[in-house]
């Protein structure tokens, strides 16, 4: 029985580690990400007789690889392709937290928004319309309080259904200026020819248009590595538009 892989992403201080510890208990170990001084925490838990491997990604406000933390989190989501990425959000600062959530939703369809610190939000008299959010954003939304262990079962059930392919999402995708959308339309088909369906073509097109050479380099390494393993890929000769 193979283990499903689940990543926890989110802003700093949203309760990722608290949730991680609640779920994995003592079944965890920490180390460093390869070649980085960034801590990597990984653990396992079992739900309905199925094992899950949970990775606690570094907390970041963004995923544009401006720092080693952001690069680690971004590369894991895009290139390691976890079965589910859970974005842990602070219920009392939704506007801020949606920035990262929307970025993750551009990178993968397999996203669950986990709104944590619900106890704090309730104390402040705030209400989170989870159904409305799920409708508008096209992905499951689960409200929890990691510290009080509330909503954990609903979260585990949502992760299970997504990992088993029983949930189809339709993540809300940010529409950019017509100018930019035009450029995306121009290069996205070429990107798709090269990466196929294994990586998010629209997101890669956006990163290339932004002149993200570090992403281009990582992508090249990934594709060469796969070719070495006999995976068919197209010709990689895209250059950045700056």
């Amino acid at each position: 029985m193979t283990s499903y892989r689940v990543a926890l992403a989110g802003n700093p201080n949203t309760g990722k580690s608290t949730l991680f510890n609640t779920l994995t208990g003592l079944k965890q170990h920490t180390g460093n990400w390869p070649g980085k001084t960034v801590i990597r925490a990984e653990g396992t838990y079992v739900h309905n007789n199925q094992e899950y491997t949970l990775v606690d990604l570094p907390g970041t406000y963004s995923l544009y690889a401006n720092s080693a933390d952001e690069e680690v989190a971004r590369d894991y989501i895009v290139f390691e392709k976890p079965d589910v990425t859970v974005v842990v959000m602070d219920a009392t600062a939704m506007e801020r937290n949606l920035n990262l959530a929307l970025q993750v939703m551009e990178m993968t369809d397999r996203v669950i928004l986990c709104i944590n610190l619900m106890d704090e939000a309730e104390k402040k008299g705030m209400t989170i319309h989870d159904r409305k959010l799920a409708d508008r954003l096209g992905v499951p939304v689960v409200k929890i309080s990691a510290r009080n262990k509330q909503g954990i079962d609903q979260l585990l059930d949502a992760i299970e259904r997504m990992a088993e392919g029983k949930i189809t999402t339709r993540p809300y995708r940010v529409t950019y200026s017509e100018d930019l959308e035009q450029k995306i339309r121009e290069i996205e088909p070429d990107v798709r020819k090269i990466v196929g369906d294994q990586y998010p073509a629209r997101w890669i097109a956006l990163r290339l248009l932004d002149g993200d050479y570090s992403l281009l380099k990582t992508l090249q390494d990934q594709l060469l590595n796969q070719r070495g393993k006999g995976v068919e890929t197209g010709e990689l000769s895209v250059s950045c538009h700056t």
Binding site: Y64, A93, R96, N99
Partner: protein, 85 residues
């Protein structure tokens, strides 16, 4: 009643609450500031200066973030209130 006038975030005093009008910066630093919540329209409270006056702590979108002069002097703001200045 103080008339609304435009200045940079770096010119603000501790306790002031201002609204961001524009960011006079491009590229990675702009992206970074936007990601941290310094977006046009956002309200920012100036918390406190470090002993040397730099960096300065700000409260923006429910989070405390410190900026260096290099960054705060490129954020144009308008006064909207606060308990000082």
């Amino acid at each position: 009643m103080v008339l609304n006038k435009t200045k940079t975030l770096y010119d603000c005093q501790s306790g002031e609450v201002v609204q961001i009008k524009s960011l006079q910066v491009e590229g990675t630093m702009r992206r970074r500031l936007l990601d941290l919540g310094f977006v046009p329209g956002a309200c920012v409270k100036v918390l406190q200066r470090s002993p040397m006056g730099d960096p300065v702590a700000y409260r923006v979108s429910h989070t405390t973030i410190a900026l260096r002069q290099e960054e705060s002097s490129r954020i144009w703001v308008e006064e909207i209130g606060g308990d000082q200045g």
